[in-house]
Subunit: 295 residues, 2 copies
DNA sequence: TGTTTTCTCTGACTTGGGTCAGATATCGTT
DNA sequence: AACGATATCTGACCCAAGTCAGAGAAAACA
């Protein structure tokens, strides 16, 4: 059912938006070259460019040279390693990129012009909803070390939210002090990775969660957080199941978790996921509710 | 605002759905050839194929020959005009097309697999809403003769709906008897044309409306109908304005219209569009309310 | 120090997706 | 019967996009 609707939408989208979007991006120059202008941004190493766009090294080299001939980019050797080259936009390059941006905007504006403002914002709403659902469909759960920048970004976001939510705030204590708990074999730290190369750098983290060993056969799930923009898409439930699976495959038979009574949606999710309330099992001052589930 | 949201969605869409959709459509054969398989359907004239896809005649010829070499299509001269050629799928061609269809479906299924059923149908809903809004943004209003198949399709749909809505049904009288009223210079018949080549044949008609001369300087707007699938997108308001503009450019100073009290949304629209209720000005037995607006 | 690896670049090549200018056959009209 | 218009096909070309096999320079390593 949803399959045919998606394909139906795709056909229309390619025709109405996709094709044209390419059309005018090629201002005299091959399309690939224009794309590079956007990807270079404030300057990058050529190797990064290649990796991000997954292009052949010879091909990128040629594209860059054609842009250089038009005086849109300039390359210099990387001072720390002069095999590598650093490429950045010239003033003309920046102007050209902004012009492309402007044209792209205008094209969309023209397309939407016949719609009244109410329908325009309706369209924006549904497309944004669709975008978030598509992102949710393509996220991956990835074990990372809790000291990586992504993990720290997620944790800081999580603590910041708790601090804003709890009356009297939230003190995470020594940040990263519990990091060792989330490294195998004692535990895991999982981030919800958004497979979206176009958004940099930490927009690629859509959430996190941790598992740690409490006692033989019993694990604890902690630090579950979903990026505010990614809520309501079923990600929390999938993350919870993923963490349970991780605990199970690490040999645990039961998982516990604690939470604060202010976190109502979380509590609701634990209940519908098969968690039963139990007595306090730790001295976490922020926890009011305690749950357990047999795996 | 909505502009950047649309572009943001486009980037994701191309990456997640668009690109891949092309990828596997090329099963060993150039992509254009695969597309032809779909477009040929139950057989067409080569000329139609060219027109619909807007391709060079030599190019289509070459593509067809390559498909013929793979025994996927067969061409025969059109019996009524042997300059033209009629192309149709062979059994193998039909199988191949169905296989492509299946692969395409499966690709979407795989992509959506991580989403729970509720979110899958949510995605279908928002994409369908987006599709209808995009169609609404790209429709055109087109003067046609009221005897063309499109016009008749629209009128029949309109009458059918009235018949189902009114207590005691609706009798349009001699169908097409009033056709002459909607031909210039006495009047116009306008259809809302959906710019969607992929949908055949009358899905391209999204609504209709007519203007006719009542008395010097006064026109009447009649037969306003929007396809049920295209309602709630602001099309009725745009069509009304278009018909008013047409009446104005035909030299009229005022427009009148009648309606039935069962058509509440229409009545509401007339009121908010500046129409004031007036006395009965005709003997239409189905009309209960009468409106007028100065142009 | 010499050897291997890494990074970029160059030149040669391929493929897909076209365009364009006739050639050929048929049709419609005078 | 002749002439122009129409439909298709063929061959010659074009360009964007990308692959591949080295070459040369610098860095890393043993």
């Amino acid at each position: 059912m949803s399959t045919s609707t998606v394909r139906r939408f795709n056909r229309l989208h390619t025709r109405v938006l996709g094709v044209l979007d390419d059309d005018f991006l090629s201002r005299g120059r091959p399309l690939g070259a224009s794309r590079l202008l956007f990807e270079i941004g404030d300057g990058t190493l050529v190797a990064d460019l290649r990796d991000r766009l997954d292009l052949d090294s010879g091909y990128v080299s040629r594209l860059l040279r054609s842009l250089e001939a038009d005086d849109l980019v300039s390359t210099t050797p990387d001072p720390t390693d002069s095999r590598r080259r650093f490429v950045s936009l010239t003033d003309a390059g920046r102007r050209e990129r902004d012009e492309l941006d402007r044209l792209s905007d205008r094209h969309v504006d023209d397309l939407l012009a016949p719609l009244d403002p109410r329908r325009r914002s309706e369209l924006a709403d549904v497309l944004d909803h669709a975008r978030r659902l598509l992102i949710a469909a393509t996220v991956t759960f990835e074990d990372v070390d809790p000291s990586t920048p992504e993990a720290l970004f997620a944790l800081r976001s999580y603590y910041g939210e708790l601090d804003a939510t709890f009356e009297g705030g939230f003190d995470p204590g020594e940040p990263g002090a519990d990091g060792a708990d989330y490294v195998r074999p004692r535990g895991r730290f999982v981030i919800v990775r958004i497979d979206d190369e176009s958004e940099r750098p930490f927009a690629t983290v859509g959430g996190c969660g941790a598992v740690t060993r409490l006692e033989p056969g019993v694990a604890e799930i902690k630090r579950m957080w979903i990026h505010p923009e990614m809520r309501g898409l079923g990600l929390a439930g999938r993350l919870l199941r993923h963490l349970e699976d991780a605990a199970r495959s690490d040999g645990h038979r039961r998982v516990r978790l604690d939470t604060n009574d202010a976190l109502l949606p979380a509590i609701e999710m634990y209940r519908t996921s098969g968690y039963a309330e139990i007595d306090r099992y730790n001295d976490n001052p922020y926890a009011r509710l305690f749950f357990e589930k047999a795996l």
